[in-house]
């Protein structure tokens, strides 16, 4: 009875040691240690079967290294005998096949006792096999996860590279647009300078500058003075315009206090003429004079982006009597800019996606799909505000909300 009880206890302890870890080596070592200690095994080894190479490798060994030579590497073609004698014919080797692997124990004990131990081991062999499977599956899953992680990292790196490329393209496109806007802004003053210069040239070629009398001399001086003043005034305008553009591109890391009206006016200083050339009428209604503390250049970029989109869609849809209404207002919490065009609005199905990166409807016009995404990032993450899009009565309606101290 005592013998049976002992067997039960040993079996319980050995079964408890099965599946103690999901790492095959740790789990097997723990089992070997407990089993050897409890049954008096002198040493034990675990041969792991490598399915690719069709060979056995030693996963773990417990016991005196002096016993290691007694364990012979299993051969794939010849199954190991369950019980066999070692080379010295004094010790017994007990082989247990676990899946395709082999676990071998070395005993120096009577045959009947080893037979009992063998039977005990057979009784929980299935559990051991399941645990070994579990460990192998876990290891495989870790491998797959690591591979996936590596693939994700590679894809993320590729995407980053793509982002850089697109941003570069976007910047080039933006600069192209800017050049177009500069051209619009400069066309009138350049033409005026040209007119003044032409009239001076004509007068000179026709010998209209008469210096015979004092009065005529004075009149010529006055004419020349006025012409020079006009040219100077136009050049000042051109200089002012180019400063505006240069400032717009200058990175501005400092917040500044600015009214919504100033923000809109500075933006219109850049795009206003282009809108005018395209026959778009601008209506600006100012209901607030509060200042907001924000990154002015970045907010101008947002307003400019919405106005440019409005201009593009108005041109695309050939809207008659095109108009853009800009309203500046405030409530208890926010300073609000609304921009609404009359181009018919955004399709309901695409409305939820317009702030997503790489989302563009301008497939034929080099749309990067980053303009509104970057606008949302600037307003919400950098300036602590909100930006929303909806459809108004006549067209797309964009609402930008900023706090007076726009701390994100």
């Amino acid at each position: 009875m005592r013998h049976l009880n002992e067997q039960l206890f040993i079996a319980f302890e050995c079964i408890s040691a099965i599946g103690s870890s999901l790492d095959l080596k740790i789990m097997v070592e723990q089992f070997q240690k407990v089993f050897a200690r409890k049954t008096g095994a002198l040493a034990s080894i675990y041969w792991y079967y490598d399915e690719r190479q069709h060979t056995y490798t030693q996963l773990s060994f417990q016991g005196k290294k002096a016993f290691l030579p007694l364990f012979k590497t299993p051969k794939t073609c010849i199954p190991c005998p369950i019980l066999s004698l070692d080379e010295t014919k004094t010790k017994n080797l007990l082989h247990v096949k676990i899946d395709e692997d082999w676990m071998v124990f070395l005993f120096h004990a009577p045959y009947t006792e080893i037979e009992l131990i063998k039977n005990m081991l057979e009784s929980f062999k299935e559990k051991l096999e399941n645990a070994v499977h579990g460990c192998k599956n876990h290891s495989e899953l870790i491998g797959i996860n690591q591979k996936l992680e590596r693939l994700i990292q590679e894809e993320v790196a590729k995407n980053r590279e793509k982002d850089q490329h697109i941003l570069q393209q976007s910047r080039l496109a933006q600069m192209g647009e800017m050049i177009s806007m500069i051209a619009h802004q400069w066309r009138q003053p350049l033409s005026s300078i040209s007119t003044v210069a032409a009239s001076l040239k004509l007068k000179l070629s026709l010998n209209r500058f008469d210096y015979t009398t004092k009065e005529q001399e004075e009149a010529n001086k006055l004419f020349l003075q006025e012409s020079m003043n006009k040219i100077e005034s136009y050049v000042r305008f051109l200089t002012h315009t180019i400063d505006d553009f240069r400032n717009f591109f200058k990175p501005n890391k400092q917040k500044e206090s600015i009214t919504l009206s100033q923000l809109v006016n500075r933006t219109l200083g850049i795009i206003g003429k282009a809108l005018e050339v395209n026959g778009i009428t601008l209506h600006v209604q100012t209901n607030t004079t509060h200042e907001v503390l924000t990154y002015a250049n970045e907010m101008m970029q947002v307003i400019l982006n919405i106005l440019k989109n409005a201009e593009d869609i108005i041109k695309e849809r050939e809207v008659k009597n095109p108009q853009i209404h800009i309203t500046l207002s405030s409530d208890k919490t926010w300073q609000i800019i609304t921009i609404e065009d009359n181009a018919g609005g955004i399709k309901e199905e695409i409305l939820p996606h317009i702030f997503a990166p790489y989302f563009s409807t301008k497939t034929d016009k080099n749309g990067t799909g980053l303009g509104l995404y970057m606008s949302k990032t600037i307003v919400e993450e950098h300036c602590g505000g909100q930006i929303m899009a909806s459809n108004g009565a006549y067209g797309a309606l964009f609402t930008i909300k900023l706090k007076e101290d726009a701390t994100p």
Binding site: Q7, E13, L42, G63, A66
Partner: protein, 351 residues
């Protein structure tokens, strides 16, 4: 392993009388020990133990100096490092080791040492330290004291080895259902201390409310059940009212028993260990007998402890020198399965 073994009352007397050579020193914890002896040609390593044994007497003060035979080698090493540099042990037939008895790394060290020793090599050893349950610097050589260290002496001469304890089950078997290193948190899924207390208070007149824990735990150690072998004894050292801390690691779900003893059975076990050791020696002549006995056995047997030493001596010729230590843990590879770190056990080496 050793050429000559002598007892000295003080370290000064040892220093005066020895000239040169390599020595193992075993010092009783009450010995005045201010500085390490320095002498040209004198090489030694040693350790402090609760008591030492010399010629069937125990001493709380004094030291034993054992001069190493020329075929023996001595090493002091950090037990956290691999034993691989000990190339000498590959050809040895016997090993004597002293390990810091309060170190948590004992098991890893012994496991590592076991993998390296030859098939037929026998090992005997002791856990060093004072009987205070506090880890102190107790291992030294002629240069300095070493913490978390071990002394390994290997010899080409074989020894006889016997291990017995004499403890019997009082209550159990129980499942140590929750364990963490050296702490048993649950037994049979209940708080370990509750199970331990109920078992002892039911079977004896001792009460934990009125008697210090260690006074009871010395008499009622925990035994690990092993197939076809005797219990492996683990001594409880403290409790927090729920769990029990023992000397030595326990695997979760180990089957254990609460043990008890009769004094005459402890003495008989020591005698049996001596007979076993004497019988399995390979040499005809017996140089001396090394006793590594647990200090708890001394405390349990109290005045009767001298009978345990007499019982050991009875297994040998009357003039045979009996020497050794009362230790904090006993070490031996009584079988081929591994080196065990015992508690409350008597380990006898026939040198």
């Amino acid at each position: 392993m050793f050429e000559h073994v002598s007892f000295y009352k003080t370290l000064e007397s040892f220093e005066k009388s020895v000239k040169s050579g390599t020595y193992l020193l075993m010092i009783a914890q009450e010995t005045l020990f201010l500085e390490l002896p320095k002498k040209e040609g004198l090489v030694y390593a040693g350790a402090i133990f609760p008591k030492i044994i010399f010629k069937q007497k125990t001493y709380a003060s004094g030291l034993i100096a054992a001069r190493l035979a020329k075929t023996s080698t001595l090493h002091v090493m950090d037990i956290h490092k691999e034993c691989n540099p000990l190339s000498c042990i590959h050809n040895s037939h016997s090993i004597f080791t002293i390990v810091d008895g309060y170190s948590a790394a004992i098991y890893d060290f012994l496991e590592n040492l076991y993998t390296l020793i030859p098939e037929t090599c026998k090992l005997i050893g002791a856990g060093s330290g004072k009987n205070t349950l506090i880890q102190e610097l107790t291992i030294f050589d002629q240069t300095r004291f070493h913490l978390e260290s071990a002394i390994v002496i290997s010899s080409k001469k074989s020894i006889g080895l016997g291990v017995k304890h004499g403890w019997k089950p009082l209550h159990g078997p129980l499942i140590a259902s929750q364990c963490h290193d050296t702490t048993i948190e649950k037994m049979n899924y209940k708080d370990a201390f509750e199970v331990y207390k109920n078992a002892i208070e039911t079977e004896s007149t001792l009460r934990f409310d009125t008697t210090p824990f260690f006074k009871i735990s010395q008499r009622y150690p925990i035994g690990l059940v092993r197939y076809n072998q005797d219990f492996l004894v683990r001594e409880p050292v403290s409790t927090d009212g729920k769990s029990i801390k023992v000397v030595g690691k326990l695997e979760q779900n180990s089957i254990v028993c609460i043990l008890t003893c009769k004094e005459n059975e402890l003495i008989q076990a020591a005698h049996e260990a001596a007979i076993l050791s004497c019988e399995n020696r390979e040499n005809e002549t017996v140089h001396s007998v090394m006793v590594v006995d647990c200090i708890s056995r001394f405390l349990v047997l109290d005045k009767k402890y001298s009978q345990e030493l007499k019982a050991i001596a009875k297994a040998y010729e009357p003039q045979t020198l009996l020497w050794g230590v009362l230790s904090v843990g006993e070490i031996a590879n009584a079988n081929q399965e591994g080196i065990e770190f015992y508690n409350n056990t008597c380990v006898i080496g026939t040198l």
